[in-house]
Amino acid sequence: MGEITQQDMERHAATSATRGIRYRLMRWGAGDVPDYIEFVETVQLATALSCNLLGTNPKLHKKHSEDSLTELVIIHMMGLGFDARLDSMVGGHCDMVVNLNGDYKWLAEAKIYTSHSWVWQGYQQLATRYQPGDPHSSHGGMLIYCRKPDTTAQMVKWQGYMKSQNPALVFPVGTVLPIAGLFYSQHDSPRTGGPQTIAHFAVPLNWAPATKAKKAAAKKAATKKAAIKKAATKKVATKKAATKKVATKKVATKKVATKKVATKKVATKKVATKKVATKKVATKKVATKKVVIKKTAAKKTAAK
């Protein structure tokens, strides 16, 4: 036959997170329509990848405005296959809307982390104005562009600020994604009362090339920070442990594995070798019957 098969496509998809996401979108388009949660998990994984990508070259984005940065995220999301756009229709001017066939929506608001109140403003717009409140748009995101170093610490601060502004906010455990500092917040929609979950993404855009003096000063500050960080990461670590438990439960019940692409690579390799192994068993069975192999016949004649 010699054609590229579905199996070949899956192998190709397993070689990178990007290919995996695109392949999933191909499947959705060809008829394997996802439920809302699968849509959200895929969008959020894609967002994490896009944010990390922005963070690989912070020097390039040093002078970019909020809108320019978001535009880059949108372009990347489109490259993964999502219908992502700057939206002007959903209740107001939302920074990014990712939509699937007009049924599912994931809304995001983007802010440069200049101050807590600035980011809070963006969050409020998203939570109270933009999110429609129905079950198929009940998830969204905050894209927080962090120009200062240590995004994990910044996100801890941001979460603390949120709590102080609204003690009724809940911070549920959610899917672990490959991005530092991620957390989830949940509130009830002012429109419908339904639960709305927002994933908070920190985009690491710190660019500060260090001189010798700066390095020494930084070291001092770093040790101080390290102590604070230790306490904070302990908190996050226990949360992560709890999250992991729920996440692994979620994984078990979900149809498609989206988490931890690195382990997925190895896992797919293992499955592939297992398949070859089970095929070996299958071909062994067939081998009890005759197997016609041209070259073997040629060998025989050659041996003769």
Binding site: M1, G2, K280, A282, V286, K289, V292
Partner: protein, 346 residues
């Protein structure tokens, strides 16, 4: 017949998507995705009411007669057919063990014990349009299965194969039939011809039945030449041409196959353009045509006939074609349909 037997016969003999599934649905029976999904519901207690049991029995019996067959037509005359019908209606089934529990699906072990068995008379089946004589037998044949070259590579890493074919010796029961219509001068011999068998499979049944009929009727049976039907059916206005082998004006041989669900090859762009270009001087030698037959429920059966001529049939001295292949037939009505399409041309 027991439900288990009827299901086993359909499962072994009827193509799932185009025949079995439709036949079951037509009787109002539950149908899932594939046999594994369907059989448990059919075997559940009281899954079939009394009428469905009778109807399924009829469906299975008719499929034994017409399903996946190589057809030969013989001009024997009305009198001979009537005489044979009268004789066979009183004939007892053969005492051969292959006929025990007719109709049935014998296990591999049972078949191995019996070895190859030529067609043995099993049952006389009357119907409103004619009668069928059904014969049971056992035949071994080789099946070709395409294996995954990558899997073989794991066993023979030094070799690089583009494709690997496995040859499997297979034994299965055959159900051959002779159809004796109530009118007309032709009788029809339908030899079992499974989809995955090689083209020589039905020959043994044809030979055996021809001999047996010659003996019973006292006349030498000569099959009718079906080759004129190739051009005839190609030129006919109805049916979809799904396979076409032809010779062009400049002597090149072409072979086209249409995918399932696609339109008729007569209207195929590539083919039509070619036909226009060479001034319609196309000589078809191999043709498969598919028709649509609507059932009471609105479901559609698509019986198909293949006239498997070769390019040699056009050129050779022996330009005759005695066999045609019936595919996707559900019951006697499909045989009637194909009969009616072939008769104007033979």
């Amino acid at each position: 017949m027991k439900v288990e037997t009827m299901i086993a016969l359909l499962r072994a003999r009827a193509p799932w998507r185009s025949v079995a599934r439709i036949g079951l649905k037509e009787l109002g029976l539950p149908v899932g995705m594939g046999w594994d999904d369907t059989v448990p519901d059919l075997l559940a207690p009281n899954a079939l009411n009394a009428k469905q049991m009778i109807d399924l029995d009829g469906t299975v019996l008719e499929h034994l007669i017409v399903g996946e067959k190589s057809l030969r037509i013989y001009d024997v005359g009305r009198q001979a057919i009537d005489a044979l019908t009268a004789t066979m209606s009183k004939k007892k089934a053969s005492p051969h063990p292959v006929v025990t529990g007719f109709p049935s699906v014998l296990s591999d072990a049972a078949m191995k014990q019996l070895g190859d068995v030529p067609p043995q008379f099993g049952r006389y089946v009357p119907s409103s349009r004619g009668s069928a004589l059904v014969y049971a037998g056992v035949r071994s044949y080789t099946r070709r299965i395409e294996l995954n070259p990558n899997a073989i590579k794991a066993v023979l890493p030094s070799m690089d194969f583009d494709s690997v074919i496995g040859v499997v010796n297979h034994r299965r029961m055959t159900y051959d039939a002779v159809w004796l219509p109530k009118s007309g001068k032709y009788l029809y011999v339908l030899a079992d011809y499974p989809q995955d068998a090689t083209s020589d499979f039905p020959a043994q049944s044809h030979l055996a039945l021809e001999r047996s009929l010659t003996k019973s009727m006292g006349v030498q049976l000569v099959p009718v030449d079906l080759f004129p039907a190739v051009q005839g059916l190609y030129d006919a206005p109805d049916g979809d041409v799904v396979e076409l082998g032809f010779i062009t004006d400049d002597d090149s041989v072409k072979h086209l196959k249409a995918r399932q669900g696609k339109k008729c090859l007569r209207k195929d762009g590539y083919h039509t353009a070619g036909a226009t270009f060479v001034g319609n001087a196309l000589l078809p030698f191999r043709l498969a045509v598919r028709w649509q037959r609507k059932l009471n429920s609105g479901l559609i059966v698509q019986p198909e006939v293949l006239l498997p001529g070769t390019s040699r049939t056009i050129y050779g001295l022996n330009n005759h074609l005695y066999d045609c292949v019936l595919r996707n037939c559900l019951g006697l009505r499909d045989l009637e349909l194909i009969k009616s399409k072939l008769s104007p041309h033979i």
